[in-house]
Amino acid sequence: MSSLSRNAVSLALLGVLLLAACEREERSYRGEPVGEVKPGAIVQGTLYAGAPSPPPPQRREYEGNAYHVSEGKRLFEWFNCSGCHAHGGGDIGPPLMDEVWIYGGELENIAATIVEGRPNGMPSFRNKIPDQQLWQIAAYVRSMQREVRKDVAPGRDDHMAVTPGEQNQPVTPPKPGGVASPSSEGRGP
């Protein structure tokens, strides 16, 4: 390889790194006011008639941005998403950290699910969550399932350690249950 092309390659690499970093680290606060996610823009399935439509621009803007994803994590707690979905493991609502998506797992699908609600119990948050926060939450939900880059996904929070943190979500089989607490060991009934 000539040194010129080598330089070009390293420059290109640097460029990619730069872009990734800028995208990851940007803080933008204003977003758009409450609107509606146009259902027309949302694809629920993975099967397309003709050529697939391009994904909406929010995917890159939100999924690639650590600030947005971390804001999504905060709002996931604030807006009680965690009340039903726990920290991704599910409770009243289905788990979000597994691979199963009932209503589609793309960013747009998740946003649509939040806005419109789903018949089996997912409430509609129409007019309750401004668009930017909506995309932030959706991007965070994607991070639970390891669908955003590792360097963008959040780490642990300052609460009880119940998951390894979105950036370290393991792909290991579930651990066996029923292990007694260390402090209760050796303490007879």
Binding site: E32, V34, N127, K128
Partner: protein, 342 residues
């Protein structure tokens, strides 16, 4: 805001040092309004006097050393130390060290005494206030043995004059620090730790406190108002705060309330007396009775409130209140309703 302009005015650019004595203000340690701040003030003056003396001695000694008639030496030559002079200088050094030690000892003693007296002031308490720091505002609670008489408000501490107050400090997210310079020094609010601060305000007035530990994007806009009133006025304020929000008095206000209850507002804010009971953002039950909006970012008035709701991220970029995008027609009704929450 509604504080009087600084005495030297916005235009008269007097040399700042001259107005040191006149540095009174709603957020200044130079204008103590409470027992603690006054004692610390005294400590400050003791330290300042001692240090000024030492500084003067050093500067005079330096001046003398530089300006005195020195021994002659040819260019490039070296002056050998002279035994007698060395001895005198050594004596001087010993005196110097002894002097330093004495002054420092006095400082330590004074500091300890003042610290002790601050603790002593803390021994009684009549009013308990819980302040919880959050990014980037303050929850203020007045717990009561009768829980139904406890009060929750935001970004505003009311105190009765002349009464010892225990301020319990908690942090909800990161470390903050409560600093009301006119009343006391600062105390940190640390997650997982309970701190407290004792205040006694000696005169009525309106003061300002601010977060003094860097806490993120809007650290600069995390202030609170401290209102010191007479005991009677304080009690009256408490009674007023206990009441739930009044029902809308007319059609327009009712529309405003409906807008509030059906919009994104209820995801974060609560208004007691309505179904809105969210608590991750300031309680709005008596919003219109407060002096400022957004933790001291803006003085409270209808115009500012409308501006704040219309675009909070322009006024306080990065704060947790999103751009909700209320249409102008609705905004007026919404603001009118919120403004009725006295």
């Amino acid at each position: 805001m509604r504080w009087p302009p600084a005495p030297w005015g916005r235009k008269g650019r007097v040399l700042p040092i001259l107005v040191l004595a006149a540095c009174s203000g709603p957020q200044s340690m130079l204008d103590p309004a409470g027992g603690q701040a006054a004692r610390i003030g005294v400590m400050g003056w003791i330290l300042l006097a001692g240090c000024a003396f030492v500084y003067a001695v050093v500067l005079l000694w330096l001046l003398w050393a530089l300006a005195r008639r020195h021994r002659w030496v040819e260019p490039g030559g070296v002056l050998p130390p002279q035994a007698g002079v060395e001895r005198r200088l050594t004596n001087g050094l010993v005196a110097w060290v002894v002097g330093t030690v004495l002054i420092l000892f006095a400082f330590v003693a004074a500091s300890y005494a003042v610290d002790k007296s601050l603790t002593h002031l803390a021994n009684r308490e009549e009013v308990v206030v819980e302040v919880e720091g959050k990014q980037w505002w303050w929850t203020v609670r007045y717990p009561d043995d009768d829980p139904s008489r406890s009060i929750t408000t935001a970004n505003e501490i009311h105190l009765p004059v002349g009464v010892p107050v225990r301020v319990k400090l908690k942090a909800a997210d990161v470390i903050h620090s409560l600093w009301i310079p006119n009343l006391h020094g600062k105390m940190d609010l640390i997650p997982g730790r309970d701190n407290e601060l004792f205040l006694t305000a000696d005169r009525e007035g309106i003061f300002r406190g601010q977060c003094a530990e860097f806490c993120g994007l809007q650290h600069a806009h995390m202030a609170l108002d401290v209102i010191v009133h007479s005991r009677a006025a304080f009690d009256a304020w408490k009674e007023a705060q206990l009441a739930p929000a009044p029902a809308p008095a007319d059609e327009a206000l009712a529309r405003g309330q409906a807008l509030f209850l059906t919009s994104a507002c209820t995801m974060c804010h609560g208004i007691r007396g309505t179904p809105a009971s969210a608590s991750v953002a300031p309680d709005l039950t008596h919003l219109a009775s407060r002096r400022s909006i957004a933790a001291g970012a803006l003085p409270y008035n209808r115009g500012n409130l409308a501006g704040w709701i219309a675009d909070p991220q322009r006024i306080k970029p990065g704060n947790h209140m999103p751009l909700v995008g209320v249409p102008p027609s609705d905004l007026q009704a919404l603001v009118a309703y919120l403004d009725s929450l006295k």
